[in-house]
Structure formats: structure tokens, C-alpha cells
Symmetry: C2
Subunit: 593 residues, 2 copies
């Protein structure tokens, strides 16, 4: 069972992550609190009542591949159609083609709940929305006319085709081919792997966005173009025509997200699939980045959704399961394990991770929205940089938290957690992909260190750290005794973050790139833990909106956080600034010989 | 592929964990270095050549349950019989019944390799050996005569039947019944769950050790007796008689260790299974603890085995897989990912965990051996207490490390890590049970805090901490420049461990048991991390035995450890000493209402 945490989500959007800034903009002038609440409530209801019960079915039945076709798990086609009939697919898409034009923050909140319902389900539309964004921004009007409305409604789904066997993280190595045809279209050929929802029977057509190289393209990533390749060609009247020269050659047998078909796609076996250029030739990577950046946030939200769902299930189990006698309990009866201090610790470890993931994801969504509504070039630049800075934090830390929370959830279940019938293990299996896809968390860390810290000549991160200090000052100035020493703990953590940041930036400035890269992963965790801690404290210091129990709970979580996750920070700083010499001295190739 | 790390194992046994103390004893006077080496080499060969290749078969095929019978995975019966023909089952068992009487340290070393080969395989004999230990120590001569030789040779396997649906960690709640029969035997009835290797076709007979209550037994754990219940009754001449009144009602569908059948066992459906009392009536728990303590170390070794195997596979993948260009590499070719600093960090994170797990497990085995060979009552007490202190550390930390290392291994594989064909995911699935069974790691932490810290009125832990300080002094006195500041880092960690220990013991002394319990889990990790760090430093400071490359590698690992895992210690101390108030204030039951 899943209960959508509407109150926490709404509070985090409004009081912690700045939804008010978005509501105050001209573009979202219609988005009153009532509408926000109505949307959250209805999304929460759908996630809890419709999606959540189908999660286990999707896991056990998975998808079935035969003769190039993929059959969705039982009930999943109906689920998907109910979902798109609710208008959920086009939440952020342009109203010009039937979308609702809502801000990313609301979409992030809904996406959390879809993922709590079922990560394998929420994943498909995430890809479609990525395709919508790429088309909105880069496609010709003709392509938009033909494809956009149906992708926005969800009548058709979209995919992203980047990976090839030899080209995963390194798109330089990409070899899929595109040749110009006489009619202005292209003939696409090549094999793509790990294509999420590459083939299925949820929709009548599937719109593949495919990276490929023209024959005369420069080497490397500057020679990659993006093409739209529909499964079925579309006639002038919008009806479906012939099957394109693309087929699914198989689906992977995966650790988790069994209901999400991960396909090997073969393009051009019979001479070349018909594709249409999106944007300009050889500029495909820029288009793809449009999809990828938001997709990274969307994957972060998967970690959030799993952490919350796993927490709820573990809590429910811990309240029912009785073993031993907790301190303070008397009489012959066994205590619910939720009363044992160690189980309380574990439950809090899960819940603090869920809430920390939430503030990170919503803060990133806020920055993306701000970059969209910015009215000056300066503001646009600032918020684009902020979104850029927060994206690796919002992708990596929440996905790590998702795995950690799910694993703690298994532990709380004891032996039952290892039995698949319980469902606890599914969260761990599903969650494990999120730190990997859309750029491994190691690549997020490299992105943070090599591309984001240097933004505006290092001034952006400096300003960001200054803002955190300001929030901490505000928490301290609130003088609330119930917060304890929270501001002191945060000030220490921020100092560690400042020192680690200076160390990494100095290494880069001095050309010691390998030193900076060796510390990238602990640096990312350190930065994300500190930022999340500051936001949790901001929420704890906020007024109670008349709901004291909820506020007490927020304070308890924020205080727990300062004694647990935040306490990793000092060690991470020591690691960033101390370990590069030994790490770089490690020579794995010498071991192999 | 698995390559047994014989040199590291031998070095750790001898130079770090004190195998020489055991070899110097009268009981093991025959155990020269040559024999040790021969045993390790042959065990390593069997693990690498015979067991390791069957691991994936066991995972994919699992066991098949039908009509109360369990069929092992293809090839597993032959594998088991080859293994027992090598005499491996009786390594530590008494020579009186065909065992080899070798010390636990050697058995631990071999068990690491069996588990690296296949955790699901190594698990079965672990249970048999537990049964052997219980019989050796507590059974009547008649029972020994009938059962011991065949359990020691491995011709029959043994099981442990504790858990019932309502009684997992809490044996007070156990309800299986035993009634006295006229012939001196007993009639056993009740249902047991999660019985590892409870039914299978590897051996012709299976010897169940079953906890049950007599009708007139006192309530609680003082009313539990231990019975031997053979699957087939044994005739006076040793041949097999009638099928006993015990059957397997099903096997669990688990996250991992698919080749290990986890059975629901039903005793006495047809009037009562014939059982024979082991030890005294109502004293079954003491007998069971004999099995459980060594089983806890054996489970810790599972974590070690998985960490080492997962590391080797990830290393091998990272050397083959090419993506991007590592710092310092030039030319158009992609670099093996093993050259990227972040991957080096991840490989080291796995390897430091494997080596830290190894020193913890072997040190615990050493203490057990010392308690067996002790010649004075005082020594016996000291080493029994030391084994007691180290057992929760050797169970919990290595099993957590196993999960952590396997998860990092999945990450190093990128998208391929999530695909079951790669095998990386199996290590994670298999490893995940080890922190749960034989007493969850939370229960280990409670055991450490409530039973082990108070040993000898708190003097034992005090002496232990003093010994650690002595080893660190030795490392510092070695004055080896290549060790860097290792002794300083360790001294800081030890101070944190001392402070955390004092905090917990004070809480207990003042009757604030809930405070102590709230910090038990981070305290265990803190203690284990510090102890392992000290032992790794001891190894790093030791001479190179003429093999410089191996010594350089040990120093690199120990130095990496001091900047990474050891740096968790300060945060853990802050957690232990700071978080209990907020953790105990958490009221999960209020959330449910």
C-alpha cells in the first residue's frame, strides 16, 4: 500500500523550494494554491489507487518478447491509457499542442508519486516527455505538427536511442549511420542497445529519437545528428502507414524494473529506416542534451520515489511485526519491532533519505522553472547555471539514497525481506539502475567538478555557497530551541564544503585534473549532503501552517539528519583533500599482468 | 573467473592475525608452514576450478521443488561429492570421527574461497559443520557413534531448525513441541521456516537439529530443548530405515542464493517425528549457541568471499571495457575504464572492503582457536571473551562490506551491471542475505553493546582498546615514510572509539539502556572500522617476505583505507553520542494513526 505524502510534498514545494517564485511569474499567474493542491491530490490518488497496485504485477510478469514484439505486463495497457486520459502525460508540455504548460516543480511532485507507485511505469512517460522537449525546442514546424500533439497526449510514446555496445558513456564512439535521401529525409542504420520502452504494445506508434552520423560528419561528438524515426511512418492525414525499417531484436533480462522493456533496436536491416532530422546536421548532441538534462532530474526523482515507497512499506511492516521486548515495554507480549531503538534508527535513516532527496529534486526543478520564466538575460544565465549546478546533485544523491533506503528496508524486514513475495527486495532491485543510467553517478560527479564548478569563472558556486550561509544564518536567527544545535552542525558542514570546493578548484586551476577527478565522487556527496541539510533546516525553521504534528516531524527529521547523514561530511572532506595521491598511485593494469 | 588470493590470505593469517600462535601450540604441532600452504593452494584450486564455474548455473537454474522433494541445480550433486571426497567437509572436526582437527583459522581461509566460488554452495556445509560442532560438544556417545562420522565426511548433511513464523529473532516465542516417548526418544511436531538446505538430493540422509519445547518446559528460552531428527531413521547397522515424519512443504523464492534451498519443514504431521535429545532437556539454547557463534563467523566470511569475488570481476571488466580518455592518456584510442580516477576509487573501495573483512574474520577465527588451545583457565576465559567480542564485528561489518562491494561492482559495470547475464548483479543479490541471517546486523550490534562490552566488568574491552593502542604505537615506531600519517589517523580513530565506548558504557551503567541501544549500530561499525584499520596498518608495516609488489599493494590499500572508510569514524562517534535523543523521540505508532 502507498499513501501519497501530499502534505509533505506541498510544504516542500512552497516553504522550502520556492514554488511561490514560480506562481508569482506572469507565465504561471493562473497557478493558485487551490490548483496546486487539486493537482497534487488527484496525482496522489491516481498513484496510490491505480499505479501502486500494479507494481508487483509488472515485476513478476515483466514483459514478454516474441517475434520482434513486446507484450506489456497484464493490466499495464489499461493503466497507461487511464493515466494519459487523466492528462498527466502533458503536464509541462506546451499548450500549443495540447499540453498544460505547468511548471517543472509540479511535474516533479507528480513524478515522485508515479515513481512511488511504480518506477517501471513512470519511466516510460519520462522518455516521452524528453522527446517532447527536444521536439518543442529543436524540431521543424512540420515535424511538430505531425508528432507533437500525439506525444503530448501520450497516444504515442517516445524513446531515446543513444547507447551502442561500444558507446555508452562515451558518445565519441557512436557509429550508427544516417544517409541523406532525395526527399529530404534520411536513411538510418545501426544497432542501439539499452533502449527503454523501445518496443511495446502500450501505444500504436513509437517515436524513436536516434543519434547517428552522416557520412561526411566530423569525428567525435561534433559529428552527431539527431533523427526522429517513427516505428510506423505517418501519412499526410495523420494515419499510420508502413512499418519503418526498425525492429526490436530482443529485451534484456534485468535485475529490476522488469515491466520496463529494455530493448536492442536494429535500424536499417532492409536498406535504412526513414528518419527526419531534428535541428541541424551535426548538432544532435545539443538537442539530446535538452532531453538528457531534464531526464537526469527525472531519474533523481526515481530515487526519491523509491525511498519514500520503501520507507512506507518498512514502516508498515515494523508496526505489524512483533519480536522481543522494546525498552520501556512491560508485560509478556512481544513489542512491534518499530518500538526497538535500532529499528527506529533504520526507519529514520530511510525517511531522512526520502526527504533529503525530495528537497534536492524540487530545488533543481525550481531552478529549471526559474530559467524558463527569467525575464532578463542575466537572470536566465543565472538560473540556467543554477539548474546546471543542481542537476548532478539531484541526479546522483537521490538515486544513491534510493538504493540505500531500499536496502535498509530489506534489512528491517529481516528474513522476510529476502523473500520476493514480500516486495521489499523489488524496491532494491528496481532502485539499483538509477545510479547508473542517464550518466552514471561517477559521471555526474565529473560533470559537477569539471563543468559546473567553473561556471562563470567560479563565481556561481561561490554565490551558491554564500546563499547557503545566508539560510543557515536565518535558521540560527530563528532562535528556536527545538532546533538544538542544528545551525552549528550546518556551519561546520558548510566550512568543509567550502574547503573541499577550494581544494578541487585549485587542483583544476593548477592543471592537476586527475587529482580533481579522484575526489569527484566524495565531493558530490559532500556538496549534496550539505545542501540538503540546509534545506531541511530551512523547512524545520518554517512555521507550522497550523499543523503542529507535521512540523514536529520535520524538526525531528532535520535533527536526525544533522547527527547522521550530515556527519559524513567531515570524513568526505578528508577523503577529497587527502586521498588523491594514493588513488592515482593504484595501477590496476599492473595487477592483471 | 576467480583467482584465489592465496598470497594475501597466507600473509593475513601469518603476519596479521597470528596463525603462528596456533602453530606453536601442542595441539597443532604438526601444522607447519608447508602444510598450511599446501592446504591453501589445494582449496584455492578447488574453489577456482570446480566451484566458481558452477555459481552462475546455481543462480539461473536454482533448485526445483515438487512433491516434497528438492532437486539441486544441474551438476551440483557431482560438485558436492567431489568436494567431500577432497576431505574438505571435516577440516576442523575431531579426528576421533574422521575429521582433520585443523584450526578454525585455516577453515576460515578455505571458507573464504568456497564462498568466493559460490556462496550458495558454501552455505550448505557451513550448516553441517555447525551440526557437527553441536554433536561433538553436547551429544551422547550413542548419537555420536551413529551420526558424527557421516556428518564429518559429508556423506550426510546437517541443518539448523530454529525459526518459526512468529519466532525469528525472538526464540522466546518458539512453539514447536517435543513429547517423551517410551523408548527414550521424543516425538517432534511443528513447523519451521527458512531452513537452509532443509531438503535436497545432494546426500542420502539429512540430519535436522531442531529446537522444540517439552510439555512441562518453563516458558521462554529456558524451556527449549535441542533434538536430532534424521530425515531417514538409521538402523542399528548404520543403514537407512524408514522415512521419518518430517517433510518439506515448500521452498522460498528468494532475491539470491537460488541454489541454496530455503525450506519450510513440517515435523510430525503423522503423529510426531522421531527425535533424539542432544544435551539436557531445556538446555537446548546453550547447544544451539555452540552452532550459532561459529555460524556467525561463517556468515561474516560469506561477506568477505563475495567482496573479493565481486572485486575480481569488476577489476577484470574495468580492464577490458574502454570508454573516454583517462587523464594522461593521449591518442585517439579510448582508455580502459580502470585508468579513470573515479573507477580506480571504486575498485579500491571494493578491495579495501575485502581486505578489511578478511582481517576481521581471521582475527575472530584466531580468538576461537586460542580459546580451544588455551592451557589455563584464565587464558581460556580471556580468549572466549575475545572471541565473543569479535564475533559481532566479524559477522556484521564483513556482511555489510559484502553488500557494499557488490553494489559498487554493479556500478563499475555501468548498464551491463544491471543485466543479469553479466553476473555482477548476482553478487549483490546473494550478498544481501548475509547482513540478515544468523542474527541481523542490528542484533549483532545489540549483542556487542549489551553482552560483550560488559564482559569481565568492562575490563575486557578496555584491554582490547589498549592492545590496539599498542599496535598503533608499533606502526608509528616503524618509522616507515611510505606509511604516511597512518598512525596519526588511527590514533584519532581510536580516540573516537574510546569516547564512544565510554559513552555507551556510561549509558548502560546509568540504566539508560534505550540510549545505548539507539547507538548500537553506528557503534559496531565504528569499532569494526577502527579495529580493521589497525590490523591493515599492522600488515602494511610488516616486512615484505621478499615480495615487494605485494607489500606495496598492502600499503596502498591501508593508506586508501585511512582516507576513506576510516574517515567515517568521527561521524559515527558523533552519531552514537548525539543522536539517541532524537531517535528515541521518534514515535512510528503515532504516524500510523
Amino acid at each position: 500500500m502507498y499513501r501519497a505524502p501530499i502534505e509533505e510534498i506541498a510544504f516542500t514545494l512552497k516553504q522550502v523550494c520556492g514554488l511561490g517564485d514560480i506562481q508569482a511569474s506572469e507565465r504561471h499567474a493562473d497557478l493558485g494554491d487551490d490548483l496546486v493542491e487539486a493537482i497534487l491530490n488527484e496525482a496522489g490518488r491516481f498513484a496510490a489507487e491505480e499505479i501502486a497496485p500494479m507494481n508487483v504485477v509488472g515485476d513478476r510478469k515483466g514483459t514478454i518478447f516474441a517475434d520482434g514484439k513486446v507484450k506489456a505486463a497484464p493490466g499495464w495497457r489499461d493503466l497507461y491509457h487511464n493515466w494519459i486520459e487523466g492528462g498527466w502525460n502533458g503536464l509541462t508540455a506546451t499548450p500549443d499542442y495540447g499540453g498544460q504548460g505547468l511548471p517543472m516543480m509540479l511535474s516533479a511532485a507528480a513524478l515522485e508519486m508515479w515513481n512511488s507507485g511504480s518506477m517501471a511505469f513512470a519511466l516510460g512517460p519520462t522518455l516521452t516527455i524528453g522527446a517532447v522537449e527536444a521536439l518543442e525546442k529543436h524540431a521543424s514546424d512540420a515535424l511538430k505538427e505531425t508528432y507533437l500533439a500525439k506525444l503530448i497526449s501520450g497516444e504515442w510514446m517516445g524513446t531515446m536511442n543513444l547507447t551502442e555496445p561500444q558507446a555508452g558513456s562515451d558518445l565519441n564512439a557512436l557509429t550508427a549511420k544516417a544517409e541523406r535521401a532525395e526527399d529530404g529525409s534520411y536513411r538510418i542504420s545501426g544497432q542501439k542497445i539499452f533502449i527503454t520502452y523501445g518496443e511495446h504494445d502500450l501505444t500504436d506508434n513509437i517515436i524513436h529519437l536516434v543519434l547517428a552520423r552522416l557520412p561526411d560528419a566530423p569525428a567525435g561528438t561534433r559529428g552527431i545528428s539527431l533523427f526522429l524515426v517513427p516505428k510506423f511512418l505517418v501519412n499526410a492525414d495523420g494515419s499510420l502507414g508502413a512499418h519503418n525499417d526498425v525492429r526490436c531484436a530482443g529485451v534484456e533480462h534485468k535485475l529490476g524494473i522488469h515491466a520496463s522493456p529494455t530493448c536492442t533496436m536494429v535500424f536499417g536491416d532492409e536498406g535504412g529506416a526513414t528518419g527526419y532530422l531534428i535541428g541541424e546536421e551535426n548538432r544532435g548532441l545539443a538537442c539530446m542534451f535538452t532531453m538528457m538534462n531534464n531526464a537526469r532530474l527525472a531519474v533523481g526523482i526515481q530515487g526519491l520515489g523509491i525511498a519514500e515507497r520503501a520507507y512506507q512499506e518498512a514502516l508498515s511492516y515494523a508496526l505489524e511485526r512483533k519480536q522481543g521486548r522494546a525498552p520501556g515495554d512491560s508485560g509478556p507480549a512481544m513489542s512491534p519491532i518499530a518500538r526497538h531503538p535500532d529499528i527506529k534508527r533504520n526507519l529514520l535513516a530511510m525517511k531522512t533519505r526520502a526527504q533529503a532527496a525530495r528537497v534536492l529534486c524540487f530545488a533543481c526543478a525550481h531552478a529549471i522553472d526559474m530559467s524558463h520564466i527569467a525575464e532578463t538575460e542575466e537572470d536566465r544565465k543565472f538560473w540556467s547555471e543554477r539548474a546546471g549546478l543542481l542537476t548532478p546533485l539531484a541526479k546522483a544523491l537521490p538515486t544513491d539514497f534510493g538504493v540505500e533506503a531500499a536496502s535498509i528496508g530489506v534489512q528491517i524486514h529481516g528474513g522476510m525481506g529476502f523473500i520476493e513475495e514480500t516486495g521489499a527486495a523489488q524496491y532494491l532491485r528496481d532502485a539499483r539502475i538509477a545510479p547508473i543510467y542517464e550518466g552514471t553517478n561517477g559521471i555526474q560527479a565529473i560533470d559537477l567538478v569539471t563543468r559546473k564548478l567553473p561556471l562563470s569563472g567560479g563565481e556561481h558556486i561561490k554565490a551558491f555557497l554564500g546563499e547557503l550561509a545566508g539560510i543557515i544564518e536565518g535558521v540560527a536567527a530563528s532562535n528556536l530551541p527545538e532546533l538544538g544545535d542544528m545551525a552549528i552542525h550546518l556551519t561546520e558542514a558548510l566550512r568543509d564544503l567550502e574547503e573541499a570546493t577550494a581544494w578541487i578548484m585549485t587542483a583544476q586551476a593548477e592543471g592537476r585534473m586527475a587529482d580533481a577527478l579522484a575526489g569527484a565522487t566524495p565531493y558530490l556527496r559532500l556538496a549534496g549532503l550539505t545542501f540538503a541539510g540546509v534545506l531541511l533546516a530551512k523547512g524545520a525553521a518554517a512555521s507550522d501552517d497550523g499543523h503542529k504534528a507535521a512540523r514536529d516531524q520535520r524538526i525531528l527529521l532535520a535533527r536526525t539528519y544533522t547527527f547522521t547523514l550530515l556527519k559524513e561530511v567531515a570524513g568526505l572532506k578528508a577523503d577529497v583533500t587527502g586521498s588523491s595521491e594514493v588513488i592515482l598511485a593504484f595501477d590496476p593494469e599492473a595487477l592483471a599482468s
